[in-house]
């Protein structure tokens, strides 16, 4: 038996290896994120945090995980058994899947001479290949939309966990948190529009390349409001404090995962930290230059050192953002539910729209190519005249319509009084 590996098959095999590496790194990072959270919270509250298991408590969360693994899976009589098992899976799977679009570093060139070797009595022929393997799981033309789509699917896990438990706290927690996630998804999507207007593509790798060369190229300087909005919306999407209403332990037991124990609970727990990780990575990618360093990379392109440089900076940024999220947890109290919904709909949504219109206006006046347009070019053009006139009409119309809506009641009352 001979098996021939075509260049395409080799690329896919290498990608599979890369996926396995990234996935396992994520699995290893999660316990350390938990540990770091507990340590940092301890520091904020002037206590040592976990420090008994291993030096500096380093094995604490691993032991905790093992404990959860060996525990009994308690399942109350009234639960819906199928969905009770499916819900943790439906939460953890999207958390892993969103990682697919995160670019971790520049491509690396891999050269294989080709040849033959035998494995378990199977002769394997390898074709000679030279390929540039991008470090990351994949790169999609619809990258950001993919992120929005998969985070949108994460709602199901939570709402079904609440429903399948068939208990009051769970149901209320599930419904509450899904309403929260839905509300902030709008803000999440709209806060990205500013960046997209500047970038002109959904592809995350292309967005990073635009920011390469130094920290002054990062999109955060052009989109400070968008950055802020995206971050707040991300806090709400990952259900982190001050938006941890789904768990709200002082009001709803443990919220949607009240009736989950053992590994099923661990799945929800892991999903939360994986979501934190991916969200930080996406935030860093869109606004903070992703894997590019604060200065241009000193290493040769397509080399392993360049990859190490990229991975280092991405991890450093993720570490800072995650630490910031933990810091916020240690500092801010939880929102009340009406405050949370008010913030999402009445503050974030209008702000995101305003930011978008402003950015679009600036991009319209200073069109692509990062070239400053001369005064004559702007004033003389029919389109500019049209734009100004159009804006005037729109503004007046808006004022009239708003007046009609806002003062309709007053006018009616006045008419009645007369």
């Amino acid at each position: 038996m001979t098996l021939t590996l075509t260049p395409f098959a080799i690329e896919m095999l290498l990608r599979l290896v890369l996926i396995l590496v990234i996935f396992h790194v994520l699995l290893i990072i999660v316990p350390f994120m938990v540990l770091w959270e507990r340590k940092l919270l301890g520091f904020i509250q002037e206590r040592p945090g976990p420090n008994r298991v291993g030096p500096w408590g380093i094995l604490q969360t691993i032991v905790d995980g093992l404990k959860l693994f060996l525990k009994e899976d308690i399942r109350p009589a009234s639960v819906d058994r199928t969905l009770h098992t499916l819900a943790p899976l439906m939460t953890v799977a999207p958390a892993i899947l969103v990682l697919a679009i995160v670019p971790f570093a520049d491509p690396v060139r891999i050269t294989l001479d080709g040849g033959e070797f035998s494995l378990l009595g199977l002769t394997i022929q390898v074709a000679p290949v030279v390929l540039d393997l991008p470090i990351g799981i994949t790169s999609l033309e619809v990258g950001i939309l993919y992120y929005l789509a998969i985070t949108g699917l994460a709602v199901y896990g939570i709402v079904l966990a609440g429903w399948a438990s068939n208990s009051k706290y769970s149901l209320l927690g599930g419904i509450r948190s899904s309403a929260q996630m839905l509300s902030y998804e709008i803000a999440l999507g709209l806060s990205l529009v500013g960046v997209l207007l500047i970038a002109g593509t959904f592809d995350l790798r292309a967005i990073i390349e635009q920011q390469d060369g130094g920290f002054w190229n990062w999109h955060v300087w052009k989109q400070p409001v968008g950055f802020l909005l995206f971050m707040v919306a991300g806090f709400a999407e990952t259900n982190r404090l001050p938006f941890d209403l789904p768990e709200g332990e002082s009001e709803l037991g443990a919220g949607f995962h009240t009736e989950f124990s053992s590994m099923k609970f661990a799945m929800f727990f892991m999903a939360e930290y994986m979501n934190m990780f991916t969200f930080s990575a996406v935030l860093a990618t869109l606004f903070l230059g992703g894997y590019t360093g604060p200065i241009a990379s000193p290493f040769a392109e397509l080399g392993w050192l360049n990859v190490a440089w990229g991975v280092f900076w991405l991890m450093a940024k993720i570490f800072l953002i995650v630490s910031f999220m933990i810091f916020i947890r240690g500092t801010l109290p939880r929102f009340r539910y009406d405050q949370l919904m008010d913030l999402g709909w009445k503050v974030m949504f209008p702000l995101a729209l305003a930011n978008m219109v402003l950015t679009a206006g600036v991009v319209a006046v200073f069109p692509p190519g990062n070239r400053w347009v001369t005064r004559e070019e702007i004033i003389g053009q029919p389109s500019t005249v049209g734009l100004t006139l159009g804006l005037l009409v729109v503004g007046v119309a808006q004022i009239i319509i708003m007046d009609m809506i806002l003062n309709a009641r007053k006018r009616r009352l006045l008419a009645n009084a007369r």
Binding site: D80, T82, L83, L140, E141, V142, L145, Y146, L148, A149, I150, G152, L153, V155, Y156, V159, L160, W163, L171, I175, S178, L182, G200, F202
Partner: protein
Amino acid sequence: MISQIVYGLLFVLALFSAMMVVLSPHAVYGALYLVLTMVGIAALFVLMNAQLAGVLQIIVYAGAIMVLFLFVIMLLNVGRQEGGSGINRSVRWLGGVLSVAFILQVIAMYAGLRDELAANYTLEGAQSIRIDDVARLLLTDYIYAFEMTSVLLLVAVIGAVVLARRRLVQGALEEGERRGF
């Protein structure tokens, strides 16, 4: 070859879950199968090189509309205990006849168009549609449709608020009654 097999598998998945939407005993399971159908259709879109349509299928249908469905099911609290459908026999027969007729029609259509379809529409010949092209078309050739969408959404917003308000008032009155006012 492989893509055709994947196509067939996805097709079966989408069709099977669509059938399970009707056949599953509980409304929540039905909704979940519908989500699966949507995801299957999205994957079919991607397979036909309509990546944007695929992702939008997930964002809008699987991510938004189906969540609304689930909320409604939970809101109305339907069917955790109820078994069987309340539809009477004659309607069921009518439905059966209609579905058979529909399937026959699709088969007949396919038989008539097979050569033309096979000649013009193959997976390999799927045209590459770039996302910016779609977006540009939306803003140029289809600008009126684009603007009218916002009117449609406006009507929907007003409708939603009006409907929900009526229920809200009703709910408040009921609660008042319960408390003995």
